[in-house]
Symmetry: D3
Subunit: 252 residues, 6 copies
């Protein structure tokens, strides 16, 4: 039996508090169980050096944890003077995932940086960051689209992410920290509103895993993400987000 | 006329949400107008190298801003690979101020790190951090005192801080960002419940200031801090904090 | 048609030159097409701080490229003063993959560092590094096992890795650099001699991918890895490597 | 009784050796008791990025100690790879203080960097640096003013600094290292020739301090700084420095 | 008696495998006994900031060792975050030596970076790097000269380097690691095809050395370098290298 | 004709002001023409990690320049966050040179760090540093020898250094900055009181140099160093320095 009586295929409650930052073009405070992440999107009218002069935009992400987001205090990466490999891996993942649903051409020569700062961590911080980052991004892009009357709306589909894993003999959806630390297989899945994969990252922590396990986990993830995207749709409803990606788009 | 019709000697509303972090020994989310800081206190049963074997404890602080706490996004200090001078100056100030009301002997060979993370900034982030850090520290020390039945309560007095300044011809209490950026004189004052000074840092930003200005600003700061300490007293009431510093102590 | 007339499910020629370093406990120079990696394994009779006193060993990896391994010269990470996110992500992956086929208990309190230095790069440097690192590791562990008469042989199975991807409409095995840069889906798969997954990392570079594509790519990867493990078996034959992992073990 | 029989309100002897560097636009070797600082001012015909195009100049300072300036050798900050918080705090203070008596508009788009290198330290290195930095700055500005026939002389007033503190029950002027390390209250004051404050930084090292103590210390500092400025006036006399700040100016 | 029965004035066998990198403009794999270095030369159509607008080119070098090039594994300089003093000293030496035989004017505003990566080390890595770097440089410059029909061939002479030393009472040519670590005097000599000195760096490791020892060592080095340049001439023969430096030039 | 009418084989005036630092175990302010270096020696009763438990001592050196030691201001290496290659090369050279005249066994498990801080630079800063560092070292070692009644005096000989070079057609002794920047050949020589070589570093800056030039330069250096050691002898006379290295020792 899972904590709080959750079923194996049941997600933790997810709460989205949108537009809470006084300055950011888009922002959301996302809570998935006890995992809490502040996501803010910043628009800048310039692109990184390597993108200059292509008429295209760029979307990137940064990820960090407050020192006491976790059970024991972590030293700040600013104090250590460098980012850990884990942080870099996560922020590369978030940025890549976001870009998969952005039409960089339609964005124009602008860049959007989404900051995901984990205020409290209880497993699934990278997947929660992606799910929240999409909301912050959508708010920021919506403002841009209105302000500049962009002819094509630069977001092409919804995007959410969840973790799944094998703990003991059971396949579980949306692992909290305790479950994650006991998992034999750990998988992070990122999917679109259309039900397509953006990232599949499965790791046999202790030992390898079989094709059947892989298939079961993917199915579980798909269920969870479908539900999360429903919640995103509601959260984005008020701003009338126009997703160009077909039937999943709010105003398509 | 100040924003929201504030009088020259009127503080912004202050809100303290205590004990909000699942893991930290003490925590508070402090809001002073639009300035919002998460303060968490972490207790460790060890002291830094330079304090070893003295039978005394240590209290230190770290300060940081989320990238989009401000109007334009700031690069993370972790990405730049080093702390700015401003950050170091502020965290040295917070730590020094906290230690002035802690009996390090009574604390025993333990260290407490108070993290002050600015979620949103609108002026006065260092003074707000000090005021909040004291609350987080008090919660953590209280737990310690109960858990280890400390014979002497290690906190000796209340502690709060406010900024004052000269804007135009007027002396103002509790400057917001806009006022701060126009101030000719800027002063941060840290005081105890007993009404004594812990830090006085006055700077003539554009031009020097007179003894009369200094005196007027100190008086304004004293008023503000007295009010803030009243609010701290209420916030700490429920935990029955015992301040050994005389008549200001809740249960003295 | 692929370069050199390769079929879609055909790997590039792989060449393993073993035991070529005068000092390292295990070493191999692995060439997969024009991708060339020097792998050396170093045994040390100590473990990292976080593993001390557990009676278990540790296996880790480091990855780097010579500056002119690629078409244009890359600045050295030593000169830049820090590792890139890409490098950290890759060396974390290699280490994790190797540990999945090592019985750390059986290894004893020792650590093995496998260095993968890319001498020339033409796509698939991380998968080639894993395949080569396993050989270097096996040589080093074999020496250890003989020298210390380890009761249980610490390697539990073979391990190899390959990249697969979707280029145009075609699914391809073992992408070279040019194919990789045009791929819409890019997947790295790490598998054991038993045919189980250790890592599956699929990314939709430009756009998301479907479940069918995922299944097709996994099948292609499985074929490639099975062939590579056959070559590893031959390369390790002369040292009489004893894999405890069942029917795939050379001397089981 | 203080070392060398100094009275409580008596400064240590101050010696200014001006124009001693072959290359610098302005320089002074300042000795205050056993504290010895080399100050050099460098003029550059450019301003930092953030000041460009405003038609204004910039003045900044850097501070460092030779490794053996102190009783035990300190590791070089260059070897540690970063500046300490203390160093950054001090050089920010020196720069800010200098700018308060410079008319940046009158300076034109130029920057002056004043380097304060402590050759030997015996307390008061930051205040001694400010007092010396002003001299070096004045020499450099004077050369500039002559060379470019600046219509307005860019220095508006004299500037000096001293430390005061409470040691035991006594208020003392100009603490040496031994006194400083025993002080209960430590205050650094920066003042102009007009007798106005530029910086007041008071800290209760062990315990808070009262308003009366603050007032007494400020009075002591004022006396010391008035005397120091007299000495500066003599040192600057030969170059006929024109201070526009009223009756204190040499040639006003 | 030396290892492998070498005489005191006998070099280790040297093997040059040229043009082995798919991407580099010039490359050689040089083996001197068990010391093995990969040298690649990269041409870029730009010069460093400090050389801009002078119509001249620049030649520089970088040097590194693979972690397991030596008997015990060395930590990567990229992981340590900085280059060691030894590395910097060596790469400055290589760059300086190469520039002494390049006509920077004839090169035009281009820069050539020669990377020397030690794959395996057994003494003499810096001298071997210089000897190999010259070959890689020559190949790259030759391509440049042909491609741009340079009117003057920018390489003015051959260049090679060897170490000599006093071990016990004997003067030895081309020390391997074991000899080097026992040497009382250690000298690296760089010479041209004309028999002139480019660098002479002699160090009394344990104790000072006499003028006679210096003279003897220089004579030994001269013999070794003359032989090495013969081998370089053969290796460069096929590309018809035109050295403008007189009778030593292949096609002069 | 050289500046100040110096002859080709004439040194600049050298002035040694000994024992000028209040805290250091040994110190000297050395002036060679306009090159001025502060040298301080610090004794610590411990050795670096790699020397522990061998019953031997260690001598090392650090070198730095004040930012305005030169004609244009140099950025501080502490601000850049790393030492330049030049700095590292120089401090390695100074340390190596000093160790060549120290009996590390006789020193016992202690380390001496000699700091050479260039206050003003006009060519020859590394050679001047060595000459001064020897004096500071000798003072520190002398105190040690007296304090601990060391049975063998740990300094074995005098040590000094000078630069020589070829400017135009002339061989010159002790180059100043202007001469150095025009030199075709630049050589730094370190010698002992016995007239033996410790380091010979000759570089053909623009073009290679001949054996005759090398011989001539060595002879010039020998003359200069012999004279400098005479001056060292006088400067060390008052402390009755006992050099065990034979007839050159003051009290041998």
């Amino acid at each position: 039996m899972r904590i709080n009586g959750r079923g194996a295929d049941e997600r933790r409650p997810m709460k989205l508090t949108v537009d809470i930052n006084k300055y950011a073009e888009g922002s959301v405070y996302i809570e998935v169980g006890d995992t809490k992440v502040m996501c803010t999107a910043t628009v800048e009218e310039k692109v990184p050096m390597f993108m200059k002069g292509q008429g295209k935009g760029w979307v990137t992400a940064e990820y960090a944890m407050l020192p006491r987001a976790t059970n024991t205090r972590n030293q700040r990466e600013s104090a250590r003077g460098k980012l850990s490999g884990r942080t870099m891996e996560i922020q590369r993942l978030i940025g890549r995932a976001l870009r998969s649903v952005v039409d960089l051409q339609a964005l124009g020569e602008r860049s959007i940086t989404v900051d995901c700062d984990v205020i409290q961590a209880d497993g699934g911080t990278r997947t929660t960051s992606i799910t929240g980052a999409f909301i912050a991004l959508a708010y920021a892009v919506n403002k841009l689209a209105v302000k500049h009357s962009l002819p094509v709306f630069p977001i092409t589909d919804y995007l959410a992410s969840v973790s799944v894993g094998v703990v003991g003999e059971q396949m579980l959806l949306d692992l909290n920290y305790e479950e994650d630390s006991k998992a034999k297989v750990d998988m992070n899945v990122v999917m679109t509103g259309q039900g397509q994969f953006v990232e599949v990252q499965g790791t046999g922590e202790e030992k390898p895993f079989s094709r059947q396990e892989l298939d079961g986990l993917l199915q579980l993830a798909e269920k969870g993400i479908r539900e999360m995207i429903e919640q995103q749709r509601e959260a984005l409803g008020p701003i009338g987000l126009k997703i160009s990606g077909g039937e999943t788009g709010a105003n398509a």
